[in-house]
Symmetry: C2
Subunit: 616 residues, 2 copies
């Protein structure tokens, strides 16, 4: 005869009974036999009778009682719930949204060491305690007897697929030092874990290994089972299994409307003045300037193109992650060698059996500010890339697959193959604004360009010179009478108009959300067809640092000593509280078919919006 | 001067104007210049003035007017909307659910020919007009001038990835015959399509090539652009693009609660009596029986294991599709050679660098009836497979990936590796019921088995013989005194209990939804560990044909001339309106470790629920 309450774990509320065929039992107070589990009351009594005496200890006739309060539970720490309004501890599934639930994991893609670097995720041991910060804590709470009965054991297990995406570590305390050993992960799908006694917590550390991609939805499942011995000759059987599901943080891009942290620019043997202008602007804004020196850039100044800054985010930790382009110009070592480090992650994609083209440069990869489109909200904005319209150059499939798989900034494909260089940043950018959607889309506009030149001519400035003082100098009248240039710009305007339509539709923009900057293009005949480049410095290819804009100096015709193009652009942007600084990039950038934006890069603060709160 | 209304396409409601820099225009009645597009009224007049006369026809100074009513639209036929309460025509996106939208596509995985078969999807031409039935019609509606202006053209285009998943055909009418040519598809990403004049419709036929899988979410995007010539030396530019998004139908399994169409069974040199019993049962039910003859099955009788029947569904067409297991026993040619045909599709997955195990047989692949779990509804049920608990044999990853990727019957993984054969159909099935959730889950239960034998003993039938008249005959008393058998069955009950917990949780079942059938197991010692098989014919491994069940004859002890096990099972199932026919499968199936279900297969009617109405 057992009095239950005495031997039951505290907080147990019910019980069920299992016994062999020769055993009979009676429960008091009487309970409906079909209503098991039975409620556990302070005076619950179980009376057991047997048809025959036991022959051996623990033989079939001894009832085993399973307390219904689950003996194990595998949960993420609870304390995070309040801070983020979400249950991060596991209930065996994962759900998006503010009412969603489920734990969050980072890809451990930074490097705790700065010397002889490797990605932490490529090493299956923990050499520095600081590395634990990049992992998610998973707590095993046990609430049972001081020791498990003989032969019982706890086992953690994952699937083959999951083992490519995650590793789990646990501390191992010796007499002298505390270290961490891998429990499950690459090549180890199942492993016993210690049972530390009645009411304890055992902390595990879960390390993400891969970003979401075409073949990985970002979800990772970890199981823990209590195994029961079934006597000699039988395998153990699981009698209780708990499961926790993590979602790996996607890689998230930062739009121009987020606060800058650091500005990156290359130093070359011909860009001293440009560098000084950028330094002045960045100093004035109060941000940090990082210069990539010539020994590293080897003359490759297109730091916008070699890499894109983003970040990964979890409730306990976040850090920036650089996406390294398969472009691989002479700057190719810079992201890994100079940016990867402690709490600065790195990820790249290599083209497979695909030609890498100029469209793989990340001047062709931008992101919009937050938008709402037909009632659907994109609080982290939407990624924007450029591709061919119907046939032509394209961004490599591996990079496109990666971008689409992140899901939280659903990409938009624009048409950029009409440009020689082929980057979306040659005809568009976003600037912050105090009103409407809190930003404006700036588009390069040959029509707006011709309007400025026409108006100069109409106001008697037809003889004013474009490119004043430069060998390229040419009068407003000459420009306006150039039929070939007109045809070229009509063509360019057509291309931009198509993109304008797509952007309006995909970002939910009105015409009032768009500002047309006066920029003319010219068309070059190339082997693979005619494609466009900016005729004078392409002002839309600017650097955006809060409300301060570093705009390529257009060298337009002067009216009353002031460049008419600068005047026009200032008159369009200053009402929004934006300050334009015109930067001379003519020789070291414009002539090489790039401008200020192509030659710089900005690391920005992460969005305050948490990706797991998206309704997907 | 133009009077708009006269030249505008009927139903046009607004217009916009584009013109070169030397052209000025005025609109009456006056409209806000910034509010383009302008409303088109019956008396709209556009006055155009130029700074210079045109030098050539169609030169830059001629305004082009784009009517805002889109000149092209790529839509799925509208008539389907009413029948299915969903917009199947394209708005460039796809959304699940009864309030969702977007077109639906079938994988053309059947074969129009029965002689020298190939899957239709493997041939990039249409040889039989009947094949068009398996494709989705896509209508191009044009509403414009009788002819496109010179140099303008229509182009259909898809991405590289999409070209692996879809082909588009269009009719080509000659003087003598009508045939169909591929427009876009494998190796052809972009192609001009004819413009047939003012208000016409051009039908395309869209053919799905691949089922959703780990690397393919089932969505397919097709674009159509109107290209504008931009003069000599310039590429054409898209001026209008319309997009339609299709979702490929997933492969859908049919639970036991759906109406049977045909029963499949193998004929072997030793199963004549069994075959006759099955034929009697099927005849009585009024279904068709298909016999797989020995020249085809080569002695392999496990027709449940070699294939699984499912179907694909679209608003215009649906047909069954057989999933061929990578098991590949001697029956391996049967699905392709004998089942694939007109309106009977075929799909398979081959293991890559993975060992195929007994768990890859489709006795280990079942599907539940419709369930609702914690408020989440699964109107097509949930797929059920068996895997190892922590380590051991598994279903191949390619098949698991395929099943999970179909999404509409989210799979549940049970633990089946404790069985020698390792199939979930050895311990569970579903039968229809008139009440509660409209079905019951039947589970094999050693506890229930011992209860029957104990009660026989208690009622004075201890000497009654199990397997009466067979060489294996053994008395109830002997069975009950076999300690080893008891230990083995406690082990088995543990294994089944773990699965019972998972099924209750994942299918939202109460104990009242489950019926325990009295079945004992025994454990065999194998090289790779001890595993279980049914001790007497495993009654849960039955064939379910409406309310008629073909149950393995258990050969239990006789009481008053009737098998006590049959009596018990009938008393459990008959109250639900189910009729049990006990079929002798002892020698040709049970002794070879399978039963009635393993040796049969049932093609069932598709669910009336439409998969695109799921809320995913």
């Amino acid at each position: 005869m057992f009095v239950f309450c005495r031997c039951a774990p505290p907080q147990s509320k019910s019980f069920s009974i299992k016994c062999g065929p020769n055993v009979h039992y009676k429960v008091t107070p009487p309970a409906d036999r079909n209503a098991a589990p039975y409620p556990l009351t302070p005076n619950s009594v179980l009376t057991v009778t047997m048809d025959a005496v036991s022959e051996t200890a623990n033989d079939s006739k001894v009832p085993t009682v399973q307390y219904i309060q689950s003996p194990l539970c595998l949960k993420k720490s609870k304390h995070r719930k309040n801070a983020f309004g979400r249950k991060f501890y596991g209930i065996g599934s994962w759900k998006w949204g503010p009412n969603g639930h489920g734990a969050v994991l980072l890809v451990n893609c930074d490097s705790e060491t700065t010397y002889k670097k490797t990605l932490d995720s490529e090493v299956d041991e923990i050499n520095k305690v600081s590395d634990l910060q990049d992992m998610s804590k998973m707590i095993l709470r046990t609430n049972g007897p001081a020791e498990l009965p003989e032969g019982y054991k706890l086992t953690m297990h994952i699937s083959q697929t999951t083992s490519e995406n995650v590793r789990v570590f646990r501390p191992r305390t010796n007499l002298f030092l505390k270290d961490y050993i891998m429990v499950v992960g690459t090549d180890t799908l199942t492993e016993e874990v210690p049972y530390l006694g009645s009411k304890t917590e055992l902390a595990f550390f879960v390390e993400g290994l891969r970003f979401p991609d075409k073949d990985f939805d970002g979800l990772v499942t970890i199981n823990l089972s209590l195994l029961e011995p079934c006597g000699k000759g039988f395998p153990e059987t699981p009698i209780f299994t708990d499961t926790v599901v993590f979602h790996v943080s996607p890689w998230i891009m930062t739009p121009n409307t987020l606060k800058p942290v650091e500005v990156y620019v290359c130093s070359t043997n011909d860009n001293y003045t440009f560098l000084k202008s950028i330094k002045n602007l960045v100093d004035k804004c109060g941000y940090k300037l990082k210069i990539c020196h010539e020994y590293m850039n080897r003359g490759d100044r297109w730091i916008q193109d070699e890499l894109e800054f983003g970040y990964i985010d979890s409730p306990h930790h976040q850090f920036p992650v650089v996406l390294d382009s398969p472009r691989d110009g002479d700057l190719q070592d810079f992201p890994y060698e100079s940016i990867l480090g402690p709490d600065f992650g790195y990820v790249t994609r290599h083209a497979l059996n695909e030609e890498v083209s100029s469209l793989d440069s990340f001047g062709n990869l931008e992101v919009s500010p937050p938008v709402t489109v037909n009632g659907k909200s994109y609080p982290l904005g939407r990624i924007i890339i450029g591709v061919a319209a119907t046939r032509g150059r394209n961004m490599t499939q591996v990079v496109q697959d990666f971008l689409w798989a992140q899901k939280v900034q659903e990409p938009i494909a624009l048409y950029s193959d009409w440009l020689v260089v082929g980057h979306v940043d040659e005809f568009m950018t976003f600037v912050p604004a105090p009103d409407r959607k809190k930003f404006r889309l700036l588009l390069a506009s040959p029509d707006a360009g011709y309007k400025v030149f026409k108006s100069l001519q109409n106001n008697g400035h037809g003889k004013a010179e474009m490119f004043p003082g430069l060998p390229e100098a040419i009068s407003v009248n000459e420009i306006l009478s150039d039929k070939k240039l007109q045809a070229e710009n009509r063509y360019v305007q057509n291309c931009i108009d198509w993109n304008r339509d797509v952007l309006k539709k995909e970002l939910g923009l009105d015409d009032e959300d768009i500002i047309d900057l006066p920029i003319l293009f010219k068309v070059l005949e190339e082997k693979t067809g005619s494609r466009a480049v900016a005729y004078y410095p392409d002002m839309v290819n600017m650097i955006v640092l809060g409300n301060k804009l570093g705009v390529p100096k257009p060298f337009g015709p002067k009216v009353n000593g002031r460049c008419a193009l600068e005047t026009e652009v200032c008159s369009l942007l200053e009402p929004l509280g934006l300050k334009c600084t015109f930067i001379d990039d003519f020789a070291p950038y414009h002539k090489l078919l790039g401008e200020v934006h192509c030659g710089s890069n900005v690391l920005r603060e992460p969005s305050p919006f948490k990706w797991w709160n998206l309704e997907l």
